[in-house]
Symmetry: C2
Subunit: 407 residues, 2 copies
C-alpha cells in the first residue's frame, strides 16, 4: 500500500511515567510483523473511553463498555488482523480468555484490562494465539517504542499516526501521547478507528470521562470518510499520574482547563490524521457550517455535505460545484432556506441569496481547489448554530481498494 | 455516454385518450435535440403527485406543491438541460412566465399547468427560451411519440425508460403509461428523477393522490443510487378519463383495487429502471430485510445497507463480504442483535446466529455474485417488520462520471 500523499511525519514522543509498552507477533495473519500490543499501567491509573455507536459491536467493545464505569485500568491489549466482530460465543470466549491471561500476567482484575481487536470480521479470534501473544508481548514490556506500538496496532493504514500535547497542571508539566489507527471509518478488512491516549497527569475518572466525551463530540465524531461506521471503533484514554502533578478532581482544579484543552486539541489532530489516511484520499476537506438553527442542526448539515458522494467526487475533480453543496444542504432534513444560503470555497464567496454571486470569477476558486487542503464554508442564515467536520475526497483509489479486495 | 449494460428495451406504448404530446428544441444547451416537452390534458383530468423532500427545492417543485391540492391538470411542461434550482427570484419568475404562457395556449388557469425542470443547477431558466419553447412544443401537439417525449425529458440517461400497465375497471380496460428520467437520485448535471404517469382511467383526485403516495412509499422511496437527494425529484400522475370506464371514487369502486395494484406495479418498474441506469452501475441489487421491529425500521436498515459504499464496492468486486452487511446493519441505529442476524446472498445462507454458517462454501455464492442481478436477504430476528429496496453497485464508472465532470 502506497503512503497517502496527505501523510504527516511521525512525531517525537516521550515516555509516560506509569506506562510501559510491549509488542509481539501473535500471527493472526500469515505475516511476520508485530500484531499484538500490550500497554501496562501503574496502579491508580484512571481511564475514560468512547466506543462505536454500532448496534452490532465486537465482544472487545462490549467488554470495554462493561468495565469503563469502574474507572481504573492496569492494562490494554490490542489485536491487529482480526476484528473478532460477528463471531458469536466463540469470539466472546476468546476475548475473555485473553483478558484473563493479561490480568494474570499483570496481577490485576480482568475488569482492569481493556481490549480491542481490528481486522477481518467474522473469524473468531484464535484463543490460543491470543493468549500466547499476550504472554510474548508481556515479555517485551519496556522495550517497544511508541513508533513500534503504533505500527503494531495498524492494519491497512498507510502511515503510523500519533500526536503529542503538553499542559501545565499546578506548575508541573504533564504530557498527553495519542496514537491512532484507521483509514477512516472504513478499510478493506473492516478495519476500524482505534485511538489510545496516555497521559502522566492524575485525574479522577468521571471528570476524565466527561472531558473525553466533550473532546470526542468535537473531534472524532466530526470526521467521516464515507459514512460507514465500524463495529469496533474505540478511543480509550489512560491517566497514570506519573508526572507527579497535582490531581485534577474538578473543573476548578489548577490546570483543569489547560488539560481539557490539550486533550481536545490532541484528539483533533489524531482525528484529522485518520482523514489524511482516508482510503484513496487525495484532498483533505474542512467543512464549516454556520447560521444553522442549532449546533446539532449545523453538525447534521455538515455531515450531509461531507458524506455526499457527489460533493466528494466534485472536490476530487477540482470542480467548484456549489450546486452539489446546495443539494447536500437540502437533503439534510434540517431547517434551511434556499434564498438565505451562501457558500464559500477557500474564503471566496461563490453563491449567496439563492444564486451565484454577481460577476463570479471561477479562477481563484479553481486555484484553491487545485490544492490539497480544501476549505468549504456554508452560511445557513437562520440562527447561531455552527459545526465543523473533516473529510476527504472520493477517488478511483477508493473504488480500487474496496472493490478489488477479497474477504 | 454508453448505454448501461443493465438497460431494458423501450416498450410499445398506446396513446392515452385525453392526452396529446408535443416536443420542441428550446435550446437550453448548445444542442439540437428536443429539450422541452408539453403534454396537454382533456378537461376534467385529475392529478396526483409526490415531490422531493429536499429543503432547497426548485421553483418548479414549489409550483407543483402549491397547485397539487387543486386536483386538476390541463398541461405539463418539462424543461431538460437546466434545473432552474437555486436561482432565486429570477428563476421563480421564469417558471411563472412559462406556466402562464402554457396556460394561455391551452386556455386554462396557471394553477392547472404543472412544470418540471432538470439539468444544470444555479443558472436561471432563460425566460425567453422557455416561453418560445412552450409555443413551439404546443405547435407539435399530437405529433410526438412516447419515445420522443421520453427522450426529450432525459439528460444524462443512457437509455429512455418507460413502462405500461393495464387494469379492468367496471368491465372496461384502462391503461397506465409511465415515463421516467434519471440516473439515480444523482447525475453529473444534478439531473433529477422525474416520472410521469398518464392513464385514461377516471378517478377522483384525493383517492388518486392516496394511491400514488402509497405506491411511492413502496417504489420510488425504495431506490437509491448513492443517497444523494435531488432538488427537483418529482412524480406526477394524470387521469384523463378517456377510456370511458366508470369513475373510481372510493376504494370500494369497481376496479379500484386492480387500478391501485397496476399503479404500484408500474411505479415499481419505473423505479427499478432508474436504478438500472444508475451512474456506473454494473449490477442491479435487491435488498430484502425481514424480522425487524417494524416496517419503518426494516426500511431504514435496508437503506443503510443500500447506501453503504463498502457494501456497494464489495458487490462491484463480486465479493461475498457479509461482514460489510453486518457493519451496515449495525450503523443503521435500529434495533438489531448481532447474535440473531442471518444473511443470504442469492438465497444461500452465509451467516447465522452471530457467525459464518458451518461448512460455508463460497462457490455458489460467488457464482450468484458474478451475475448482473444480485439478491441480498437479511433476517433481523426481532419482529415482523419487512422492507425491500433496490440499488446498484459502486464502480470506477461512478467516479469517472462525477469527478471528471465540470459544471
Amino acid at each position: 500500500m502506497q503512503t497517502s500523499t496527505l501523510s504527516r511525519p511521525f512525531p517525537a514522543l516521550p515516555d509516560i511515567a506509569g506506562c510501559t509498552r510491549g509488542t509481539a507477533t501473535a500471527g493472526y495473519k500469515p505475516w511476520d510483523r508485530a500484531d499484538i500490543t500490550l500497554l501496562a499501567f501503574a496502579e491508580g491509573t484512571t481511564v475514560a473511553g468512547v466506543t462505536t455507536c454500532s448496534k452490532c459491536p465486537s465482544p472487545e467493545v462490549e467488554h470495554c463498555r462493561r468495565i469503563l464505569p469502574g474507572g481504573t485500568a492496569r492494562g490494554l491489549v490490542v489485536n491487529a488482523g482480526n476484528s473478532n466482530a460477528f463471531t458469536g460465543k466463540r469470539g466472546a470466549e476468546a476475548c475473555a480468555l485473553q483478558v484473563a491471561e493479561a490480568a494474570r500476567l499483570l496481577g490485576c482484575a480482568p475488569t482492569e484490562i481493556f481490549a480491542s481487536s481490528t481486522g477481518v470480521i467474522g473469524l473468531p479470534l484464535p484463543a490460543d494465539k491470543a493468549q500466547a501473544g499476550v504472554r510474548a508481548a508481556h515479555a517485551t514490556l519496556g522495550h517497544a517504542s511508541w513508533h513500534e506500538v503504533t505500527a503494531a496496532i495498524g492494519t491497512t493504514d498507510t502511515f503510523p499516526k500519533a500526536a503529542l500535547r503538553e499542559a501545565i497542571v499546578g506548575g508541573t508539566k504533564v504530557s498527553l501521547v495519542g496514537i491512532i489507527k484507521g483509514s477512516g471509518m472504513i478499510a478493506p478488512d473492516m478495519a476500524t478507528m482505534l485511538g489510545y491516549i496516555v497521559t502522566d497527569a492524575a485525574i479522577d475518572a468521571p471528570l476524565f470521562q466527561a472531558m473525553l466525551s466533550h473532546a470526542n463530540a468535537r473531534t472524532f465524531s466530526c470526521i467521516t470518510v464515507d459514512g460507514d461506521t465500524s463495529t469496533s471503533d474505540t478511543v480509550l484514554a489512560f491517566a497514570t499520574g506519573g508526572a507527579g502533578a497535582p490531581r485534577i478532581t474538578s473543573n476548578e482544579s489548577p490546570g483543569a482547563d489547560a488539560f481539557a484543552a490539550a486533550l481536545t486539541d490532541l484528539c483533533r489532530e489524531l482525528a484529522q490524521l485518520v482523514v489524511r489516511d482516508g482510503e484513496g484520499a487525495s484532498k483533505f476537506i474542512e467543512i464549516r457550517v454556520a447560521g444553522a438553527e442549532s449546533d446539532e442542526s449545523a453538525h447534521r448539515i455538515a455531515k450531509s455535505i461531507a458524506n455526499s458522494p457527489l460533493v466528494k467526487t466534485a472536490i476530487a475533480g477540482g470542480d467548484a460545484n456549489w450546486g452539489r453543496i446546495v443539494m447536500a444542504v437540502g437533503k439534510a432534513g434540517e431547517p434551511a432556506e434556499r434564498d438565505l444560503l451562501s457558500i464559500r470555497f477557500g474564503g471566496i464567496e461563490v453563491a449567496a441569496n439563492g444564486m451565484v454571486v454577481a460577476g463570479y470569477d471561477e479562477t481563484p476558486v479553481a486555484a484553491h481547489l487545485a490544492g490539497q487542503d480544501i476549505d468549504i464554508a456554508v452560511e445557513i442564515g437562520l440562527g447561531d448554530g455552527r459545526a465543523t467536520v473533516w473529510t476527504c475526497d472520493l477517488t478511483h483509489g477508493y473504488i480500487s481498494i474496496n472493490a478489488d479486495y477479497r474477504s
